[in-house]
Symmetry: C2
Subunit: 273 residues, 2 copies
């Protein structure tokens, strides 16, 4: 099953994919659907996918946790060591945009070092605390696509990544949540990032150092995971910062982030005004 969140009639709604149609469900977004347990198989009005306006898949996640340095090839290109445990940082909800929305660039006087990071994201479907491996698998609703678009100079101005990772309106999330019935633990999925039509990242989620179940289990030792929480699992090699010379996105750059079996985000970078 695939679930999406669209903008319609001045608000947002959760919907289920049926062929080329979206069936509207009784929840304001997929996060609210997961929290309320509303019937995801219900009948409802339909909207053509081709004309739908996608909101961030989860509009108000309780938490957005990102995992850094979690693909062996990206660890090598950034000159880091394989960490003994998942490297966590956060992102705030104002960073999120829909799967077809423009990426809101900061003005050039703030930063021009805008980089891509295609990622598999976990969406939590049930509360989890001190989870076993089987409980960790059971609390995952499914997976989606996220691009952890990064403002590298802000990421690197101190030891902590947060500043460069939570810029407003720069993180595509969606278009759909594909459920665990189809994707299992999220391993074995081809992941690709294209920038202006050129493949820059191409890997497979089987290359994750810490997989989805490892991450959920470890996080639940620290804090209660809630339905609608989003966990980005990290990016493979091929980011702009690691290229010689470094490559950055700018006004008009087209970013396409694809995970086989889930879908793609297609976003254009835009300067304000």
């Amino acid at each position: 099953m695939e679930l999406r969140t669209i903008r319609i009639d001045g608000t947002t709604r959760a919907a289920r994919v049926e062929g080329d149609q979206l069936v509207l469900l009784d929840a304001s977004d997929v996060g609210a659907l997961l929290r309320s347990g509303a019937d995801r198989n219900a009948d409802g009005a339909t909207v053509e996918i081709a004309t739908a306006d996608h909101a961030p898949l989860v509009t108000h996640p309780d938490k957005i946790v990102c995992v850094g340095v979690n693909y062996a090839d990206h660890i090598a290109e950034m000159g880091r060591d394989v960490p003994p445990a998942p490297t966590y940082f956060a992102k705030f909800r104002q960073a999120l945009i829909g799967a077809r929305d423009d990426i809101m660039l900061p003005v050039p006087t703030v930063s021009t070092s805008i980089d891509w990071e295609g990622e598999l994201a976990i969406v939590i479907g049930a509360e989890a605390r001190h989870a076993s491996a089987s409980e960790a698998q059971a609390c995952i609703a499914g997976f989606t696509v996220l691009n952890d678009v990064s403002v590298r100079d802000y990421q690197r101005r101190t030891t902590q990544f947060l500043a460069g990772k939570t810029f407003e309106g720069m993180t595509p999330l969606g278009p759909g949540l594909v459920t665990v019935e189809e994707l299992g633990d999220g391993s074995g999925l081809e992941i690709t990032t294209e920038v202006d039509g050129v493949v820059k990242q191409s890997s497979n989620t089987s290359q994750l150092v810490f997989g989805a179940i490892d991450i959920v289990q470890d996080l639940s030792t620290i804090i209660t995971l809630e339905p609608g929480d989003v966990i980005a699992t990290g990016t493979p090699g091929g980011v702009g910062a690691a290229r010689t010379p470094p490559e950055w996105m700018s006004n008009g750059t087209l970013l396409r982030t694809t995970i086989a079996g889930i879908g793609e985000c297609t976003n254009t970078c835009r300067l304000p005004g």
Copy 2:
């Protein structure tokens, strides 16, 4: 003016301090009060402060941002350099507890390196984005007390602090929001942390490298600040990790965090069960 959030009748309520009484207001907590703009001067039923059960001052902040390495003496004891910009990391709401609540220790097999970090916290009262210095001052509702109780081995297991900073039920916040009419920019306030009655941290918020207005202005370059957002400004020298030998809190340890002109959090560390 001082505002608090208490637990009452199976829910939470915002309240205004009047002498030794709390006047209940029309909002579920101080965060909701700031978001709704409900009348903070309204009349209402009263509760004695002495018998009140304090909830986290803001129960569901949209964001909790923490600033690290922001007092010169703490920077020296941790062997870090003075950063060129504020060092930000996040905390999630499940970390928060009330000003008199027990601190929920992780079981010893998870961690025993539990440290104190007394901090001045900013509470945002109005939306702010790309704020000037005067706009940054204007969007601050006031200040409160926070202890960024830290699980040091989780903080240090990777480069990113988040894991050690957002353990469930370990971060006292409150008891009251004292408004900017009384505290201005939050500078010049004595801040003290006592552990089992012994003063471990004693400094003044004038020693902050980046003050409240600097932090709010810089953060608003990155993301929109919202009413009820909480920003912890960093801790002075004297933490347990920097002592020889290191000192940790354990079951029964009494932690008292005081800021002159605001109030104090008094919390006992407790193992589960």
